[in-house]
Subunit: 995 residues, 2 copies
């Protein structure tokens, strides 16, 4: 009559057979102390429900027990037949027990609350009944809480585990293990040495040592249990696998009441449950000297800043959090590791710049006060002519980043990107191998609840329409109830909003950039006009500093806004499945955030100073303000400043404020709110130590890896896209990542609820984005080197124009002449300390005033332009070719892995062939022992008495036509063969004598 | 005592139970007429062997039979217990029977021949014994042939088939089928219409109709035979699968005598066997009105020129020849199909050129006799000044290929390549799906015989060395017998020869090209000097024609040489596995053949005319001959001629001579040689109709698909690489391919031995080569458009220099001036009919003689160069981006396939869940029928009596701790649950009244 078999805790200190003994301060077991809680469903009681029907409960349970306050209700009896209930960790609960009623929430309830609430109770009831039907075991507190969370704990018993593991084709290590190939000779001692050097960097995790054998894995199958090393059925599957299996069941268990196909996701979306999560492995703080559980291991060996120099225990992370999160941290590790050589080369390149700054002819010429180039004024009217030697400082600074080594570094970094991608592929494959993911098929993706809801609405609407039509026209129309999916028409409004919003946000980003430009122009014009000489002298520094900070703030604010908007927009699209949703979201968010972060940098790199016009023909914005030019040292130094401030500032602020500050603030707020709880309840809380599910419920739910990846990808852009202009970018990225890893680790171990262990073979779309950025970076770097830096003009000067073949005279060559009499009215300086100036210089390749085509682009301009373009083509194709070469030379599958795979395959065939043979021998011995007299003509009758399994094992369908006779043939030929074999030595001898 | 059970043909017309009835003129069965010959091993007897020991044979065979000439020897008794031997097609053999001895070759032989021959006999003996041990059945003619091939026929019985099929994880359609999704409404009628339109193009193959259901496939497993629809065990696996399984066994069966790990491949390499092949399905000519076998179907519906307009029966090809060859033809089909739109657009572009030729201002200006440009002479001394209008013809012809539509066509073709690759990916995936290859793992690759031989030699050498060392020094040295693989040191000589040979052949190719250039220069100079005016006027035509033909001949010859050299070089590298060998060979052959075919074209496209110098400063080769210039109409027209002649000529000659002519010649020679056979033997041959194995042995062995693919890939280069200069290339390729498909088909069906059915998921490295060529084609086309054609100069003129914005004056703009007084001595024409000339014109952008920098490159030159380079960057990046977009927009997996995959997965889970439930119900009913009284507390005793299989099926290891009690729990909760379920309606009602 009732699906819940109620069971009380039995007083007494008897420890259950499989009771947990590893000193966990909180408990993860059913009240019997034996069955592990694999999953928790939570709903939040907001209104009081008066309950009747507890009598029905009593009707069933065999011994009428004294009701007390904290009885628990569970199904699935423990294996103990007598009254030796487990104590486990539930012992602590007993103390508060007193005379309250044991109540089953699944019985009918009288609903004082709104009907929606009642409906939810019914849905919950149905859902949980179906879970029981699927074989899960369940336990709940019977305490009727007026207000607060109610927990439903789920346990998955062995038979369900094994069945589902078989369906999910989970690969499990078998008993059979094989030796890994040992290097010998020199390479062995080398690898031994390497291992010793690496020792201090290895996390202190048990069983993580240098293992010389690997266990053969095979898909779990109940027919082949003998292959596996099952010591205890409770611990054979690890916790992550157990919770994955429960989640799988929860996900596919449908409720007819919601008329949707999906299980727990729909229910959570509908608010029937508040959340559903697997439990952590206990507290992360180590208490006493007991053995550490996985969470404590992770906390001690991984989620500490002190461990920053160590490798990550990736296998343990995977075991605890599942493959998807394991892959994220593995990826982050590979990326960080590979940043080390990149930042080292970057430092060397930077040092080369520092070292050669005093030998660089162009900057020496610029600083040379004897070559007194009188430059045209930088603004109209108020600005005066100026000497180029005053820009000596920026010229020298510029050389630090703009030297031939930068070209080398750009090529190096492009190849680095290719290497990184290849290396990651290899790492991914070896992780796939050691995590037994090879051959993993992609999981079927279930539709999202939102999608199903919209689909239902559509169906309803169609049905209503049809009814109306039928009433009106009374015609027999084709019934189109089979609305199977949403078409583009249903999504059209969503798409339209999407496109317009994205365009709007692009506009927003561009106008923000433009706003900052205008700010810079206006403020510098105003400050230039100021009579205060001190203000004047600081114009550039002040303006640049404030502008970059404004830029940074705008980027940070828009970044957060765009993140939220992207989610909203993707919801509007109503994607069918969760993975669709994720992909669309990632693409949108990436596009927006990428634009946002890089728009100002692109402006400085490729547009700033190119639309300023020339003396006598300046370009104006708002009719009044001249377009800004680059600093006299070149645009590259500005690009460098912009890049470094935005990169470092963004990372510092995002790490400190968004990842540390805001969570702490939230905690503070929660603690402050917690003060509002009545004294009574707090008393109660103190009396009853919180269970693991209570503790986990207070943690923040896990919300996907997208933000983590996104942050890293944007950073990857800084490292790859403009690396030609800022060789120190990899270094800053490295410093940030070392902190980032531990920060994320802390978050995952201590602040988040345990995520569902999701399987994944790769990092998905992120790899494509990475490789796309790698490709994009080639062309960007080509343009930065050829157009933003002075590399090409110098080369052209040296090999085409220089008389001596040296760089002397380069500055003179790059400066065009302007006759000051050609200034438009108002352009010329109103007062000058160089009144005798007739010709001023400006940086451009134009014909001099005395030429027939005065101020037109000169032949040199076109020659330099052609050289720049040729360099772009050369650089792009060379680097692309080299990248392809790198990708081709580095095999995707590491050699030892492919060898292991081959060996495993051979071993597996061996194992099965041996099994086959054993079966055959059994048959053979049975047959030969009974069939001695009629040898050569065996009677088939014996075969009819063979056990079912054996004849089946030989591929003979029982009762199939000709089955028995064929067995006979096979056996006959076999016996003949063995006889022949036993003869063969003598045969051989005979042969040899004959020869 | 003896492994061969000899069995005679029994006289009489009794047709065997499974005797072949489909009118095959030749036979593929054992002499019992029932067991199919799945594989044939052949060795060629070259010397006479006298034999003794036939007595031993008689000892074993129960009824002493009258020996006659053509008795056969086979193991494995047929299922018939009585003396009803199959007649089958062996009937024809009996006629020749007379009094000769029945001889078993496996008994010891007295060897008159050389010891090597004897060793081979022993190896064969051992190998065949091992095959029998592996379960194969075997039959041989006992006729002792003095000279000629001896056949060993192999048959694979059901138990071996099923075992191997399970190991190889061969997917087989199950009984369970599901409906494919039907379109409805408009799209249904559209697809119906499409089907009808397509009807005449469909090959007339049974069961190839529009099927609405698909059968679920599952890996074959002997435990799950009930899933499969096994009507007859003889025909359950098709012939290709059967032969694949035999080949698998042959391959892994090792001989201890050869001390190598591999089976048949080593033996063939060592000459122990001459060849090993599966049999064709009978004759390809249809005899009578019987049902056609697969080979006949293929011959009638596919391998006919008459069927050129039809689709290929790809499924049948795959069924007959295996996946690898099926994929080749499918790929060829997709390529040819996609060439149709490409050639149509090409024709349109060409027509556009024809149509606009009269509106093209530059060519009109060139033809305009009023604009009388006096051009500088084309050769020294003997050549005169000439008028540009005389080159009117080439200018007009040039416009046909050099017009703006060409740029569009180049972009179109680049996107076409991307589309083609994506389309092929999709096709490949849907073929994978319908051929049940999804989830196919790559086959383990066995080492090549050559590799093993070298390794053995090395081991031997090391051992000898060690022995010497031990003798000499008597020190205990580390024994290094474990030489596991060849290191780079062993391969160093091979690599060195490789590199030097490849460099040499590159040099050969280049010198061939250079030779043709020199030929052209010399001959035209000589002809220009000739006094005969007729010779003079034909100079260009004669020289170009002869030069291109020489080029073509050189290419064809070198192509064949390089093919052979590549094989030789790859052998020298001693690659470890067959697939390694193939890859290295393909890369090398591709590199060489590609260079060979394209070097002259590259020369014309990018180098010709660019090193000719300028008037007054010409470049000379051999101090005497001026470098050649392009024709007055531009280099593009020359490129076009070169391309078309080489492409069409190469294809025509290769198809006609190499693929049709030479095989026919070989046949003729063989027939002519056949006349040498003694009358006697021919008599004999006539008397005994040849068996299928005799017929197949006369065919040419299959030697891989590499040449077929290579031909197509080189053609693909013509279609993609230089398509900007020759829009008709796709058309010529299309015409060639239509023939090529049928030519190849004919070869496979009628002229080749049946190849082993090799599984493959994709076309392997060829896809990478294709995609690499696609990428390369983008940059090549960009350069052809911007540098070879006049597209960019025209644009630059129109938008930068033209006064009117039209093209008028373009010709004048492109021609520079030259003052004839600046000619070096001997350069000026000796006699001229334009004696008053002072300034002649030449095609280049240089400063005029009156400029300060006379004859230097002008500003226009640099501007045009910059524009050309900018166009290359723009074109390359735009096209690359568009290609990526195309690749991204077209999903790799077709939608219907991904939906089907999902459905199949769900269905499979359903099937297994249902099985699970049935088992459970069985258990339940057993339990409930016997256990009525003690309901709720079921006795566990009953479970102990359950059949083994059932309790195992529920995941309970028999006798495992707690197994039974858990079953009990599960059953209990289940029964409770069903009871609760039956209650639920009333429950529900109660609930509703309560609300």
């Amino acid at each position: 009559m009732h699906q819940y078999a109620s069971q009380d805790k039995i007083p007494g200190g008897g420890v259950g057979l499989a009771a947990p003994q590893d000193g966990q301060s909180s408990c993860q077991f059913f009240s019997d102390g034996r069955r592990k809680v694999d999953y928790v469903l939570v709903f939040y009681q907001r209104k009081q429900i008066s309950v009747r029907g507890s009598d029905r409960l009593h009707r069933l349970s065999a011994p009428p027990h004294p009701p007390h306050r904290l009885s628990v209700i569970s199904n699935g009896s423990s294996t103990l037949s007598g009254p030796v209930g487990g104590l486990g960790c539930a012992a602590g609960q007993r103390s508060a027990g007193d005379g309250e009623v044991c109540v089953d929430l699944a019985v009918e309830v009288e609903l004082e609350a709104d009907p929606a609430e009642g409906e939810m109770v019914l849905i919950r009831e149905e859902f949980e009944a179906r879970l029981l039907e699927a074989g899960l075991e369940m336990e709940r507190d019977t305490e009727v809480r007026v207000y607060g969370p109610s927990f439903t704990r789920l346990h998955v018993p062995w038979q369900v585990l094994s069945r589902e593991a078989e369906f999910l084709k989970i690969k499990i290590p078998t008993k059979k293990s094989y030796d890994l190939k040992q290097e010998n000779g020199f390479s062995a001692s080398l690898s031994e040495f390497w291992r010793k050097v690496n020792q201090p960097f290895q996390p202190n995790i048990p069983q993580l040592g240098h293992s010389t054998t690997k266990q053969l894995s095979h898909c779990f199958s109940r027919d082949k249990l003998h292959l596996f090393n099952i010591t205890s059925k409770d611990t054979f599957f690890d916790n992550a696998t157990r919770s994955r299996i429960v989640y799988e069941i929860l996900r596919r268990t449908a409720c007819t009441r919601t008329s949707q196909s999906m299980g727990i996701t729909t229910l959570i979306a509908k608010g029937v449950y508040d959340s559903a999560f697997p439990l952590h492995d206990g507290d992360y703080k180590v208490v006493g000297h007991s053995e550490r559980n996985d969470r404590q291991l992770l906390h001690d060996e991984w989620a500490r800043y002190g461990a920053f120099y160590k490798y990550q225990p990736v296998d343990l992370i995977r075991k605890y959090f599942g493959e998807k999160i394991g892959l994220y941290f593995a990826w982050l590790g590979v990326y960080t590791q590979l940043l080390i050589p990149a930042s080292m080369v970057g430092i060397i390149v930077f040092c080369y710049g520092c070292y050669t700054v005093d030998m660089d002819v162009p900057s020496l010429e610029m600083c040379d006060k004897q070559q007194n180039f009188t430059m045209c004024p930088l603004c109209d009217g108020v600005c005066d002519y100026w000497h180029l030697s005053t820009a000596c400082g920026t010229a020298r600074a510029s050389h630090l980043f703009d030297n031939p080594a930068t070209v080398f570094f750009a090529i190096f970094m492009s190849l680095w990107v290719a290497t990184f991608l290849e290396h990651w592929k290899r790492r991914q494959i070896s992780l796939n191998h050691s995590w037994d993911l090879t051959g993993l098929e992609e999981e079927e993706d279930h539709p999202r609840p939102k999608y199903e809801t919209v689909l239902l609405q559509k169906r309803q609407m169609m049905r209503n329409k049809e009814k109306k039509n039928e009433k009106k026209k009374k015609k027999k129309k084709k019934i189109e109830t089979g609305v199977e999916k949403l078409t583009w028409r249903d999504r059209l409004p969503g798409y339209l909003i999407n496109i317009s919003s994205i365009l709007f946000m692009f506009g927003l980003t561009f106008s923000a950039v433009f706003g900052v430009i205008v700010y810079r122009i206006v403020v510098s014009a105003l400050m230039a006009m100021s009579p205060d000489p001190e203000t004047k002298s600081n114009v550039r520094v002040t303006v640049t500093a404030t502008a970059v900070i404004i830029n940074l703030v705008v980027i940070l604010i828009l970044d957060e806004i765009y993140g939220a908007v992207a989610v909203w927009l993707t919801e509007l699209e109503i994607p069918r499945t969760e993975s669709n949703f994720e992909q669309h979201l990632i693409l949108k968010a990436f596009l927006l955030k990428f634009m946002n972060a890089y728009a100002p940098i692109f402006y400085v790199a490729f547009f700033k100073g190119r639309f300023a016009g020339r003396p006598g023909d300046y370009v104006y914005v708002f009719n009044d303000y001249r377009m800004e030019e680059c600093a006299p040292g070149g645009c590259l130094i500005e690009l460098c400043i912009q890049l470094s401030i935005i990169m470092v500032g963004k990372q510092l602020i995002q790490n400190n404020v968004f990842e540390i500050g805001i969570p702490k603030l939230k905690k503070l707020i929660r603690a402050w709110k917690g003060k509002g709880i009545s004294l009574e309840e707090r008393e109660e809380q103190r009396a009853r130590p919180p269970q693991q599910w209570n503790l986990d419920y207070t943690l923040v739910p896990f919300e996907g890896l997208t933000p983590e990846y996104m942050e890293m990808i944007i950073q990857f852009g800084f490292v790859s896209l403009f690396v030609a202009s800022f060789p120190l970018a990899p270094l800053f990225a490295l410093l940030n990542n070392v902190i980032e890893i531990r920060l994320d680790a802390k978050k995952f171990v201590t602040e988040l609820r345990r995520p569902d262990a999701v399987q994944a073979k790769d990092i998905g779309i992120w790899y494509n984005i990475l490789s796309g950025m790698g490709k994009f970076s080639v062309i960007i770097n080509a343009f930065v080197i050829s157009f933003t830096s002075d590399f090409i003009p110098r080369l052209v000067y040296q090999y085409m124009y220089s008389q001596t073949g040296t760089m002397h005279g380069f500055i003179d060559h790059t400066l065009s002449h302007f006759n000051v009499s050609n200034f438009r009215p108002g352009n010329a300086p109103t007062s000058s300390y160089l009144p005798e100036t007739t010709v001023c210089r400006y940086k451009d390749y134009r014909e001099p005033p005395w030429s027939a085509e005065a101020y037109q682009f000169s032949k040199t301009y076109w020659a330099v332009l052609a050289a720049r373009l040729a360099f772009v083509i050369l650089f792009q194709n060379l680097v692309m070719f080299l990248s392809l070469l790198v990708a081709w030379v580095i095999p995707d599958v590491p050699k030892n892995i492919s060898e292991q795979l081959k060996r495993e395959k051979t071993l597996l065939v061996d194992v099965f062939l041996r099994e086959e043979k054993e079966k055959f021998h059994l048959l053979q011995s049975l047959f030969s022992s009974k069939d001695q007299p009629s040898q050569g003509h065996p009677d088939t009758a014996h075969f009819r008495t063979l056990p079912l399994g054996l004849s089946q094992g030989l591929g003979q369908p029982p009762g199939g036509e000709g089955g028995e006779s064929r067995v006979r043939c096979r056996a006959a030929s076999f016996s003949q063969f063995t006889r022949q074999m036993s003869m063969s030595p003598s045969n051989d001898a005979a042969r040899h004598t004959a020869v």
